[in-house]
Homo-oligomer: 285 residues x 2
């Protein structure tokens, strides 16, 4: 009799990359509420694919970390799926722990496993422990799961405090990130554009291709600068065709600012192709 | 009596990342001649460190691949060592093979190991073989070495034909890169700037920091476009300080063109900091 009252049908299904206990799962709950159903996928591109095909209502991908930089597999997942749009961003402070099985110590470790972007945030830890090898695996929490299964005191995972409790691991050292202000920015992806209140601080994400000749990129950036629109992020990704690129731009502005629409029109005229991936409210912790 | 005639002292010591048989080792011989002594290092940053400290005369690092994009660990190695300069570039066609031990077949494989940048160039192979896991390790040839030692028919390496003969492995499939025109561009690094013949096609590599405000990047790019100097590459890397970036620019011009020097002067005045990493001849295969 409770079946019709169950929350199952009302839950928003949100795809994320990683295993349960991943930073991305925490980001799903912060961005979409604790009632969201966070659905794990192994690869970033699978999150985009699940969203584009309608298997989930939303997707969430890490887009950049303040120490490791852009998460290129997320950029490429978005670039490869032209129907998905960005509707929100979320910034999460990231504090990594070294997690081992009961009985392991920092001295007993030969290998610390984690996502390559997480390993890159803890270069100083590995410099302090030259005998420990950093091994890249598909996820932080996935590494914690593997370590808990292997029960090997020479192996540890680099993952969150949440992953420690999730997989019953011991925290051998906490806060091993290179800087305590380490943060990751995530984008929430959808198939429908966000409706924003006019005047709030917003960001617009664009993908632009230009001719390979002098001044081509300038003709994309000038319409922004002339309107005091702030280019906050610029990435170039290869097209596959040798030595040609797609540019991904993020521009900060106020929602509904007509100068942003003007700039978009001029950029469209000055480029080979323009995709408006989405406009979303700025999130800062 | 032959000791004083030995070539040991005349060999140029060139640091590269990877194991013997790596694509980078081949790039060393192409860029510096077969008499060069190619010295392997495990990490890209160690190549920069060995050069900066005087342990080697030259270093060589992959900077971008046409399928996988920029090699960020190489960018960061250069950014972290302000005394090293770029003196040459080299473009190498890259064809990957799946290498197994005697008796292994594509069907017997559970895991294919390689450098993450190489794995990213072979996404279609892994899509065709969903039961094979791609595992990231520190080097393509290093993966071949490990596979040859393990003698396990479920493991293979993704590496070059040269690595196959180097480690006595069998080629299970060749040319598994996503596109046959797959290429990697390398930079040769030194402690002394290159002397170029006037008028040849050249590239200049710059690192620029700007204020985080509208138009800041435009004031760096405009002096280039106004002089018809072609910006061929632009990357943003994080500084570590949240949401701030260093831009790495590559500009194509003719060696000795006074307009390049003019542009450099204006960029220096319009930016917070400017580092001229080097100017080198354009290399195209």
């Amino acid at each position: 009799m409770n079946e019709t009252e169950g929350e199952g049908n009302r839950e928003t299904r949100v795809a994320f990359q990683g295993a349960p206990g991943a930073y991305s799962e925490e980001a799903v709950y912060r961005a979409c509420g604790r009632s969201a159903a966070a659905i794990p996928y192994r690869e970033n591109v699978e999150v985009a694919r699940a969203l584009a095909s309608g298997d989930v209502e939303l997707g969430l991908l890490p887009i950049e970390n303040t120490l490791a930089g852009s998460v290129y597999v997320s950029y490429d997942a978005i670039l490869g799926h032209p129907t998905i749009v960005a509707v929100a961003e979320l910034v999460l402070p990231i504090h990594h722990c070294v997690l081992g099985v009961s009985g392991s110590t920092l001295k007993s470790l030969h290998v610390v496993e984690s996502h390559p972007v997480a390993l890159a945030q803890c270069a100083k830890f590995f410099a302090r422990h030259p005998s420990i090898v950093a091994r890249a695996v598909y996820d932080t929490a996935g590494a914690a799961l593997e370590v808990s299964r292997a029960k090997d005191p020479t192996r540890a995972a680099l993952a969150s405090r949440l992953a420690a409790s999730h997989y019953g691991l011991t925290i051998l050292e906490s806060d091993v990130e290179d800087r305590p202000d380490n943060q990751t920015r995530f984008l929430v992806l959808s198939r429908r554009r966000a409706q924003l209140h006019e005047g709030i601080r917003a960001r617009t994400l664009l993908v632009v291709t230009t001719e390979n000749k002098p001044g081509a990129l300038l003709r994309v950036l000038a319409p922004l600068a002339e309107r005091s629109l702030n280019l906050v992020k610029l990435e170039a990704r290869p097209t596959g065709e040798p030595w040609t690129y797609r540019f991904v731009l993020e521009i900060e502005h106020h929602a509904g600012d007509p100068s942003m629409d003007e700039a978009l029109g001029i950029i469209a005229a000055n480029s080979q192709s323009l995709r408006h991936v989405g406009t979303y409210a700025v999130s800062r912790v």
